[in-house]
């Protein structure tokens, strides 16, 4: 996190003068697309915060690292060693390569989540939340360095999934790419899946119980450490999914997620740091606002406008749009 977010390249150029509805529509669609990625990140942040009170400041670097792992696995399947500078993968891949690589990356992410909780955070359980947050920053920095060393810092292209790179759908003059639709549907499916998980499964209810009162949760016989590990595993799997989906749009490099991570934190706080539906809403809003600001406002203001709106919202609704006051821990 030691570098300032760079501006994401928009697929549109801000050259058009004046206002027209089509351009506005395009910007909103593009905002939805980025917003879905922010939402997937924010869901993971909320998941971790809900169970263990920690904000994972290494989330962006972890997602970046998983994108590289995914690329390495794709390379492995195609017989290309991606740590060689000249190595190149085809720009489009079929499911038969993408899916195994995705599954392998998800497994890697889950194990990393379990490991972080068990070996780095659990020993700090009695320390302040700030110390735990420091550890997450440390992990992020470590992964950044590791990625630069293993895979070099030069940006590289990331293969797209063939099936979602087909011709866009036309809504009148508006083009809706399959990729945009994929992002949005993945974000919505994940948010609803998590909602159902927290609402109806015993493990999900137990995770909520831990967030509300870890002391009483232990009295119920809930193994708090094991469930926090599960929350970390799930959150990092979401980050891996988001990373591998977003990488073609962002270009792969160690700093690729810095901007996404900052906006996702903003999204999680805007929606309410303990609300899953808030994470989805916050992510989409930030995506749209940011895209509109990038198009209609002078360059320098783009990075600030989303945050100005967040500050304004938080002064009126301190717990975020859909968040609830955090229960007092005993």
């Amino acid at each position: 996190m030691g570098y300032f977010p760079m501006v994401l390249h928009s697929t549109l150029n801000a050259t058009a003068e004046g206002f027209d509805w089509i351009t506005l529509g395009r910007n909103i669609i593009n905002g939805f697309s980025f917003g879905s990625i922010y939402a997937l990140f924010a869901l993971g942040l909320v998941l971790i915060h809900k169970s263990s009170d920690v904000v994972n400041f290494g989330h962006g670097e972890m997602a970046m690292f998983f994108s590289y792992i995914g690329l390495s696995l794709m390379g492995l399947l195609l017989g290309v060693n991606i740590s060689k500078p000249a190595a190149e993968l085809p720009s489009q891949l079929g499911w038969e390569v993408f899916l195994p690589a995705l599954l392998g990356t998800l497994l890697f992410a889950a194990l990393m989540g379990l490991g972080i909780e068990r070996f780095l955070l659990r020993p700090l359980a009695k320390a302040s939340v700030l110390s735990q947050v420091m550890v997450t920053i440390g992990i992020g920095t470590l992964l950044y360095g590791l990625a630069s060393w293993l895979w070099k810092a030069e940006p590289r292209a990331y293969p797209r999934i063939e099936a979602v790179s087909g011709p866009p759908f036309q809504l009148g003059e508006l083009a809706l790419t399959r990729e945009d639709l994929t992002f949005l549907s993945v974000a919505i499916v994940m948010a609803s899946g998590l909602f159902l998980f927290f609402r109806y499964t015993m493990v999900g209810i137990a995770l909520r119980a831990i967030a509300q009162n870890p002391f009483a949760a232990r009295l119920m016989g809930i193994n708090v450490g094991r469930l926090n590990g599960l929350a970390w595993a799930m959150a990092l799997m979401l980050a891996a999914l988001a990373g591998m989906l977003a990488a073609p749009k962002l270009q792969l490099e160690p700093g690729m997620m810095a901007d996404v991570a900052v906006k996702s934190f903003a999204a999680a706080v805007l929606g309410g740091i303990n609300s899953l539906s808030g994470a989805l809403l916050g992510g989409l809003l930030i995506g749209i606002i940011d895209n509109l600001a990038g198009f209609y406002l002078p360059d320098g203001l783009r990075a600030t406008i989303a945050f100005l709106i967040i500050v304004a919202v938080l002064t009126i609704k301190p717990h975020g749009l859909l968040g609830k006051p955090l229960p007092k821990k005993v």
Binding site: M202, I205, A206, R208, A209, Q212, N213, F215, A216, A217, R218, L219, M220, G221, I222, N223, K324, P327, V330
Partner: protein
């Protein structure tokens, strides 16, 4: 059923239990009396594995449990309804009760267990879908006890069930504690209100600064001059 021998425990660096020995025979209600800070809550927390035992032993049905984790202890049949109720405020009443049965494998019996809870606490039944945080103090206390019963305990640890409740509600709760005991659950009851506790207790222990200073049958303790003076307000 429960036998504690020379138990010592620390709260941070402060010795909160300085060699406590006591026994809870099966089927009884044993009251644990004493002023604030005497170590009553610490004792319950050490039994349920939330605080480590520094020295001494806790035996449950002949098995050492002083090094066991809280979830192992719940599985063995010891359930703890903590001081201050500690219900999950953002969960519904139903979810709170389900969390009480978290360790149970045989979830099919959920309905039978719930019926048992409603038998003791009919007031909870119309509130199943309500968030626990919106219940009154008395209802939250009932929920806390009901939740502790959902693991089907053989030994129930009750910490200050009368705390902050009006006299009528307290009377009701104590009647229910007797009912629960009559249904076969052994009870270890921590209570500031010595009069109430000794009314239903088979046996009582008095704790002072981490030590047992007096123990006798409930009936005898009610007659004891020292108890009358310090705890019964005569």
């Amino acid at each position: 059923m429960l036998r504690i021998d020379n138990l010592q425990a620390y709260y941070g660096r402060i010795a909160a239990l300085k060699g406590v020995s006591l026994e809870v025979p099966e089927g009884t209600i044993v009251a644990l009396l004493g002023a604030n800070g005497a170590g009553k809550t610490t004792l319950l927390r050490t039994i349920s594995g939330l605080l480590p035992a520094a020295q001494g032993t806790i035996e449950y049905n002949g098995q050492r449990i002083d090094q066991a984790t809280p979830d192992q202890i719940v599985r063995l049949g010891i359930s703890h309804s903590p001081e201050g109720r500690q219900v999950f405020p953002e969960c519904t009443v139903m979810e709170n009760l389900k969390l009480g049965s978290y360790i149970r494998r045989d979830k099919q019996n959920l309905k039978g267990d719930l019926d048992q809870i409603f038998h003791h606490f009919p007031a909870l039944k119309p509130r199943l879908r309500q968030l626990a945080g919106t219940l009154s103090g008395g209802e939250q206390q009932m929920l806390a006890i009901g939740r502790a019963l959902m693991s089907r305990p053989k030994l129930l640890l009750l910490d200050e069930p009368s705390l902050g409740l009006g006299p009528l509600l307290v009377k009701e709760i104590f009647t229910i504690i007797k009912e629960i005991n009559a249904s076969g659950v052994t009870v270890l009851l921590v209570e500031q209100n010595a009069y109430l506790a000794l009314n239903i207790a088979t046996y009582g222990y008095v704790l002072e600064t981490g030590k047992v200073v007096l123990h006798d049958t409930g009936a005898n303790l009610r007659q004891n001059e020292e108890i009358k003076h310090s705890y019964l307000g005569h």
